[in-house]
Symmetry: C2
Subunit: 273 residues, 2 copies
DNA sequence: GAATAAAGTTCAATATACTTGAACAAAAGG
DNA sequence: CCTTTTGTTCAAGTATATTGAACTTTATTC
């Protein structure tokens, strides 16, 4: 995404580039409005939320519906359509990093007995690419595509620990430090101290900071000083005594080392907000 | 999707409706061009494939890239971008039918020991909504969003067996009966005879017709004579002797019965081509 | 390594496709 | 039943997407 517009006056305020297709942008903004927390919207709600006139909104919704990207329920509410799932299948099945990562993750899973995750930094959050679950537990919901805040997860904290301080500050300024459990770090100074500890130790520990009773360990995946992502594992507090942590971290670090040579296979996206 | 255009002359040939946003349609056609079989495209390839001028194609790609729906590789090739995964996560996590289906599928999984699938008919193909895998095997790749032909899979054949004959013919005319293994049914009359057998038996059997050494059983999910989808399970030939089939079918039928009352939770899409 | 071909990028002009508000229809709510 | 809210339609005008030609970069050939 080179220079937006060559003729923009020096200090101009964010002129939309000439190649930007406005109606497409509106459609994508519309799709992104549907989330886990609010999966159903009415025409008027969407129109107000996105500041798009109702007549335009109808065109957007009808177009997206005709392609199956949105479905209209009998009660006039809209939802995301399953055609998007087909699209996502084609990405997942063709994501080159997974072919390298999954066997490595499965081996770590076997040796640790815990759930193993591959995450990358995306817009200042930790983005889950893949999980490998223990055989003895049926975990049918897939985590791929989930995005979590960095301050409360081991995969996120290890990424923060590899970033420049100004970027850490930018991320905190953008998302804040919301509390999820009693152990969530909600203080900027405390978080920075934690990051220093992590740097010295070489791995990050999550102590029920996002979900109660869930502990975790994470290591960074770095290639020539560039942060590519993180390998991590989580489990219940009962299955993860502190004396196991070093062993887990070593397992993960070996895997991360193998993955670090696959820089070109990692999907590209903005790591910072 | 009501009447396309009120002013279209009587016998007019497929006039594009007035609400259709052309540039959005082009973007979606572009996204759909990226598949498992051909996940990377260059500008010129896309331009030729979709009959869109190169200059327009650049605008489409730059717009999609700016939203992370497409990524440009260093070698000037394009791929689907991971932002689509985030979108798909929000659909999956909010698909109401999964909340009802997964517990039922997990129970069938436990009792059968095989892999259990929930599929729905979509455009004359079988669309995989969810799988539940056995605990003793690590199957990390998710099947959600995969779409398979009906004539070679148990879930597809059970759906065909519930359709009107003219629809079966339409589907065969649209996709043909391509061969995948030595046992794939590639003859129209033979397929129709098989469908009759399935109707009398109440469940469909897949005998290594799509993949070698993979057998399967499927039952329909029907509510008030409307076909909603299918519950099925598959396993290796060694783990699925013929004498188990009736037991599997009974397990599945019980589950399908429970799901049939959830008609309103099934995602809506065109079952026929 | 020069020459040639192919692929990718940019731009200004043009036409068309998108947006808009107002007017209407259909539900929802009191 | 009336009022209010929400959804739908339409014609008009303008902003926006498309186009081809000119240009730059990358790849291929000899």
């Amino acid at each position: 995404m080179e220079n937006p517009n060559t003729f923009s006056p020096s200090g101009a305020k964010e002129e939309t580039p000439s190649w930007m297709l406005g109606s497409v942008a509106k459609c994508i903004r519309t799709l992104k409005t549907f989330t886990v927390n609010k999966p159903e919207w009415t025409l008027t709600q969407l129109s107000k939320e996105l500041s798009i006139s109702k007549s335009t909104m109808v065109n957007i919704l009808k177009t997206l519906e005709s392609f199956g990207y949105i479905q209209k329920l009998p009660n006039q509410h809209y939802r995301l359509g399953i055609e998007l799932l087909e699209l996502s299948y084609h990405i997942r099945a063709s994501l080159p990093i997974l072919h390298s990562a999954i066997p490595i993750m499965e081996e770590i899973q076997r040796q640790s007995g815990q759930i193993v995750y591959l995450t990358i930094p995306k817009k200042g959050k930790a983005f889950y690419l893949q999980s490998v679950n223990p055989g003895n537990r049926n975990i049918s919901y897939s985590i791929t595509g989930r995005c979590t805040l960095m301050h409360c997860s081991c995969c996120g904290k290890i990424m923060l620990s590899e970033m420049a301080e100004e970027m850490v500050d930018l991320i905190i300024d953008t998302y804040g430090l919301p509390r999820f459990t009693t152990t969530t770090i909600t203080d900027r100074a405390a978080l920075k101290a934690e990051l220093q500890t992590i740097r010295e130790r070489g791995y990050a520990i999550e102590n029920c900071e996002e979900f109660p009773n869930v502990k975790g360990v994470a290591v960074p995946i770095c290639s020539s000083n560039r942060l590519l992502g993180s390998l991590s594992l989580t489990g219940s507090v009962f299955s993860m005594p502190d004396e196991n942590m070093v062993q887990y971290a070593t397992l993960l670090a070996n895997g991360a080392n193998l993955l670090a040579s696959n820089e070109e296979f990692f999907p590209k996206c903005d790591p910072y907000p």
